[in-house]
């Protein structure tokens, strides 16, 4: 949009006046900016707070000025666009009639056409003064009208604007059997989840792009708030088949919006100076029938969320201070017209300007047409696409480099509607919904994004977010092996320890001193009991977690959260009993090896220390990065199995020796 104060006409892009009709195609019912903007605000008052029509009538010279609100405007004839309450509150509002009238510059009259209470004859654009013919059938004898208004807008009214806009951004549709939503199927209206206040500030979720009033983000009820409290009969989820840590790492939408049924726009092409949206591969058009799987993006809370990774292209000019200044649509259009015969005009699933030859042609055309444009200190046209920026070097040769400018910021539109029924959610058919070779949840992120090779990405592990995703992808593809490999490790360690013990020289039992503090011995025995019971408890709960036995967890502990809390509390008791035992042994029985306290195995101290360290890390999981948390979890698990194997081997060997000695004594 143009600034209020301008020095020359080339600086002015869309004025407040032209903004209203920009991008409209009324013949196909496509609204311009002002079609969906319901009026009021900048469509009624200028940046000084004056009503456009009244001010221009008093100061007609403003239309000839470089004022960004009045430059070449006809506010005095078109009138202003007041807030049209009926767009939202009148069921059956004729939105296309509104779009048509706005395009004819019948700003004041659009509300009449949209409401359907009268006909509007004439067009300001054609130099006419429109007239209204009201339909008298809508009026009572006293001249009053009765509108059948809805205080809570019907979803259909919201869809006038959010239907097409959110279809292209995220494949969203409503009242659509080809792209259903479980909330829609339960007759939940938009306004139930997005209620408004007196100022008509509507509750918002979280959105990455194209937002206003980000301070209102997160003001609507979350999935959890509704489903935990049973709001409006929302079923309470139990997630019996899902590992609890998945709920910490994934947004609800990841599993509950596994796919969409209509193609979003994969990208936006401005090669011709006009906006052209292209669909995902396989769809005939944006909004066409297509099953597709959203990409994944990490949110501010470090959870993954499904998105439509939108890919716009852009033309800029790099200024002397290094800032990439976006070109106006008309500037690109002007350049494209000079070379349009060199481009194929057919609809493609990619930008029209794609190859290096096409980029060269277009950048040369821009260099020529922008040559005398006073809004640039220097003209250096650049083309931004997919994280790469193309431009000519000083020798006039086309070069490409990694785009680190604002133009390369990700354009990930959140996918948060078209929620699937529970039986279609990821995980409802088991872990293999995701943990499989070609599961979309991982591969969709990576497709087409990592052309530079996997090795390089692996080298950047811990550094780059994308490489972390690649690593996780690899890990999860082989995740199924985990449940076999680690128990096999248990068996191997168990066998080795048993073999080692059978070969070791049997040490005689240590002799206690002449003065036996029998009470302290009792305390030690008690501590050893606590240690052993603690170990057993930790092993059981740990195995429940490892093998994801949610049913058992719920039987014994009611919830995974309680089980986790008890697990780490048990760990504290276990470690405390060992420490107390060591202290007492050192003070009262210095001749006895304290190794007996930490399970009686060599290296037990180190293993327990590792468990404590990694366990502490997991208790404070919110303070750790996902990589560090993953390492902690892995080390904790492997160490736990080693410790269990060692302990089990010791017990087995001890029992067998005892039986052997009993047998010997009988003989």
């Amino acid at each position: 949009m143009a600034k209020k104060n301008n020095v020359f006409a080339e600086q002015i892009d869309l004025t407040s006046f032209t903004w209203i009709t920009a991008g409209a195609s009324p013949d196909v019912g496509k609204p311009g900016c002002g079609g969906c903007h319901p009026g009021g605000g900048g469509l009624e008052y200028d940046r000084d707070g004056f009503r456009y029509d009244e001010r221009l009538r008093k100061n007609p010279e403003l239309a000839a000025s470089l004022d960004g609100d009045y430059f070449q405007s006809k506010w005095d004839k078109s009138g202003v666009v007041e807030a049209d309450c009926l767009i939202c509150h009148l069921p059956g509002y004729a939105f296309k009639e509104r779009v048509k009238n706005l395009d004819m510059l019948n700003f004041r009259w659009a509300i009449v056409a949209g409401s359907g209470v009268g006909l509007v004859n004439g067009s300001v654009k054609a130099g006419e003064k429109p007239k209204v013919v009201y339909n008298k059938r809508f009026f009572n004898d006293d001249g009053k009208i009765v509108f059948s208004l809805e205080a809570e807008p019907n979803s259909e009214n919201c869809l006038f604007c959010h239907g097409p806009a959110d279809m292209l951004k995220r494949g969203f549709s409503w009242n659509d059997h080809g792209n259903h939503d479980i909330h829609n199927a339960r007759n939940i209206k938009c306004s139930y989840c997005h209620p408004g206040n007196k100022e008509h500030q509507l509750a918002k979720g979280n959105e990455n792009l194209s937002t206003v009033r980000n301070d209102l983000d997160g003001t609507m009820r979350t999935c959890k708030q509704c489903h935990d409290s049973g709001y409006m009969g929302a079923p309470k989820p139990e997630h019996r088949k899902v590992r609890p840590n998945h709920l910490e790492k994934l947004g609800c939408e990841v599993c509950h919006i596994p796919q969409l049924g209509r193609s979003s726009a994969l990208g936006l092409d401005v090669s011709t100076g006009k906006v052209r949206l292209y669909s995902r591969s396989g769809a005939k058009k944006v909004g066409g029938e297509l099953i597709w799987f959203p990409e994944m993006s990490m949110g501010a809370d470090r959870k993954l969320y499904p998105v439509n990774a939108f890919r716009p292209n852009l033309f800029t000019s790099k200024e002397v201070d290094g800032v990439y200044v976006p070109l106006f649509a008309r500037e690109v259009e002007q350049a494209f017209k000079t070379v349009s015969t060199q481009f194929k005009q057919e609809a493609l699933s990619e930008p029209l300007v794609s190859t290096t030859g096409e980029i060269t042609v277009m950048l040369k055309a821009l260099t020529a047409t922008l040559k005398d444009n006073p809004r640039f200190q220097r003209v250096l046209p650049c083309y931004h696409r997919d994280g790469v920026v193309y431009h000519f070097d000083t020798a006039g040769k086309l070069t490409m480099e990694k785009d680190t400018s604002w133009a390369a910021e990700p354009n990930n539109f959140n996918v948060s509607h078209n929620v699937a029924p529970t039986r279609m959610a990821l995980g409802s058919n088991g872990c293999s919904d995701c943990h499989a070779e070609r599961a979309a949840i991982f591969s969709s992120w990576l497709n087409g994004k990592h052309e530079e090779g996997k090795q390089r990405l692996l080298a950047r592990f811990f550094v780059d977010e994308d490489s972390r995703v690649y690593y996780l992808d690899q890990l999860h593809k082989y995740n199924a092996a985990k449940t076999y490999l680690i128990p096999m490790l248990f068996v191997a360690i168990f066998t080795l320890i048993l073999f080692r013990e059978s070969q070791a020289k049997v040490m005689p039992m240590p002799m206690l001193g002449p003065v036996l503090p029998s009470r302290m011995l009792l305390v030690v025995a008690l501590l050893l009991l606590v240690r052993n019971v603690g170990f057993l408890f930790l092993a059981c709960t740990g195995l429940f977690f490892f093998f994801n036995k949610i049913n058992l967890i719920q039987i014994f502990f009611a919830s995974p959260e309680t089980a986790v809390t008890l697990h780490w509390n048990g760990g504290i008791v276990f470690v405390a009993s060992i420490l107390a035992c060591i202290v007492i042994r050192r003070l009262f029985f210095p001749k006895i090896n304290t190794a007996i306290c930490h399970l009686g195995v060599s290296g037990g101290k180190i293993l327990i220390a590792m468990m404590v360290l990694t366990g502490t890390g997991m208790i404070f999981r919110n303070q750790l990065t996902p990589e560090l948390l993953y390492v902690c979890s892995l080390v904790h698990t492997v160490t736990a199995f080693v410790l269990m194997a060692v302990y089990a081997a010791k017990i087995y060997y001890g029992i067998s020796r005892k039986l052997y000695s009993l047998q010997g004594s009988e003989e």
Binding site: G41, D84, V112, S148, L149, E199, V212, W406
Partner: protein, 120 residues
């Protein structure tokens, strides 16, 4: 026998009283509860009948021909009962216009607000 009949009458009366009490309680709960019903679930409301008004606030009456060729103004028509200025503070109406400024962003001078009106 007589005692049995009397006892039965007494029981019937008790049942009647109990049912009456329950009925009164249900009505009372419904009445009180109705007052506190969630407005979201309370169903649609209409504005009743009203005059359309033009941008000067004058009545439009197609039956008498009074200002009958003029478009109605939502500011004057809806604003007769509702606070138009408060309502249009909503972000759907403002779209960043309340923040728009030529100097909104130093780094990206072409960005004039955080909404659709002025945002790149």
């Amino acid at each position: 026998m007589g005692k049995t009949i009397a006892a039965n009458h007494s029981q019937v009366n008790d049942i009647k009283k109990t049912l009456l009490t329950i009925g009164v309680a249900i009505v009372a709960v419904c009445c009180l509860g109705g007052g506190n019903a969630d407005p979201v679930l309370a169903g649609s409301k209409t504005c009743g009948s009203f005059f359309l008004r033009n941008s000067q606030g004058d009545v439009i009456n197609p039956l008498t021909g009074e200002n009958a060729d003029q478009p109605f103004s939502s500011r004057k028509t809806c604003g007769a009962c509702h606070d138009y200025d408060v309502i249009t503070k909503g972000f759907h109406f403002q779209q960043g216009w309340e923040k728009i400024s030529d100097t909104y962003s130093e780094k990206m001078p072409w960005v004039l607000s955080d909404g659709m009106m002025g945002k790149h």
